[in-house]
Amino acid sequence: MQVKRGLAEMLKGGVIMDVVNPEQAKIAEDAGACAVMALERVPADIRRDGGVSRMSDPEMIEGIKAVTTIPVMAKARIGHFVEAQILQALGVDYVDESEVLTPADEAHHIDKYAFTVPFVCGATNLGEALRRISEGACMIRSKGEAGTGNIVEAVRHLRSILGDIRKITQADSAELFQWAKVLQAPLPLVQEIAETGKLQVPLFCAGGIATPADAALAMQLGAEAVFVGSGIFKSNDPAPRARAIVEATTHFRDADILAKVSRGLGAPMTGIGMDDTTKFAERGW
């Protein structure tokens, strides 16, 4: 378990970038990404194209593994344990059981204890996070709303998860039973949070980061690292933006550095509002 959970510790303070081909993977690594997420289409394109979205072609994942020296992650559909088996056989370093892909099971997530490869799962609130941890997830990320370039949902999810953790540390032992019931989460995990004041696994931010300031906002709210999906390669000039987001994630409390790295990056991805959007975050149970 230390081995499985440990890799998330190594990714802290870093930026994990979505890439769809080896060229983008090189740009990400050159910019200082601590890992890449290999997928066929970035969420903004998945959103635009519609249809069923699945695990990437193994050939494409192999192509990205071949050109990078940093960890490579890949996505499996919610509940699609065979996609996860294939990704583990390919030797990917992390599997994201992701709501960005079309769910394969409307009741069950993958039993992540059955794998040696570690899993990251999305969550919108603490109950969801604890259910994923009870299934063996080694890292939780906010779901945010992938492919929108809009940080509002990720902020909502981080505030919900971290706010409830703060409240639970103030609860008495009788109230913890009620918290477990309300959160629909295992009582022992709730009791553990009451004692330690933190989630059992690292909490990262994903879903809507488009600027260095967005990344620093997530970090100041309490995320321990950030995923950037469409925000880099749907912007006008990906390489400098990628570098700036890496700098902003490290120096997230230093407003002088944030001001410096935010300059002259060209246009960010256009982004969309939440009213006219199908919410990927509602996928997952």
């Binding site: 190594m10 303070g13 020296t69 940093i70 992390y94 890496v246 490290t250 120096h251």
Partner: protein, 194 residues
């Protein structure tokens, strides 16, 4: 020496876990991200994480050259995993533009033990510790050559995994991921910081 502050390089990686371990044995810690932070510390821990990322951030933050000077002047430093890579004289399978500080005469191969699916944990005997240490190896770097002046403190299957030369100590594994802080304590005592 109670006023000593131990810096933890906090550009990226497992720096919070190192701070926890250092504090558990009574050290005061400071996260180091810019040169002004480094000025305040009397020892430094360089954590695991992604060495290519840290290498870039060391340069862009202006830390690389001032850290190289401090290391040259004998700053006690403990580098684990990526920290070991950054302190080595030679990095194999690194990026072409990856910079290392050359503070300890070893050659290390990045991800020498393989990818995440090859990561492992095992108990190893350590010089100076009465009981074995539970070592966690994650996409770990492998020592392939040691300089004459480097002392080996622990081996795993015949390969050095904990080594010291002068003020520089390096480990292939992650002593910050287990509750056992004996190696942090050993480092601090060796340099009379606690």
């Amino acid at each position: 020496m109670s006023a000593s502050i131990v810096g933890v390089l906090a550009l990226q990686g497992a720096f919070v876990a190192h701070e926890r371990a250092l504090r558990s044995v009574g050290a005061s810690t400071l996260q180091v991200r810019i040169p002004a932070d480094l000025d305040k510390v009397q020892a430094l821990v360089m954590p695991g994480g992604e060495s290519t990322t840290m290498s870039k951030l060391l340069v862009s933050s202006g830390l690389f050259d001032v850290l190289a000077d401090r290391l040259h002047d004998g700053l006690p430093v403990f580098g684990t995993c990526a920290g070991m890579i950054l302190l080595a004289t030679e990095v194999l399978d690194g990026r072409e533009d990856q910079r290392s500080l050359g503070a300890i005469d070893v050659s290390v191969r990045r991800n020498g033990y393989g990818r995440q699916v090859d990561s492992f944990e095992t108990d190893i005997p350590v010089t100076g510790l009465s009981n074995p240490f539970h070592a966690v190896f994650i996409r770990a770097p492998k020592v392939e050559r040691l300089g004459a002046g480097v002392e080996v403190l622990a081996e795993c299957e015949g390969v050095p995994v904990l080594a010291r030369e002068g003020s520089v100590t390096v480990a292939s594994f992650h002593p910050e991921l287990t509750p056992d802080a004996r190696l942090h304590e050993q480092f601090l005592r060796h340099h009379s910081i606690i």
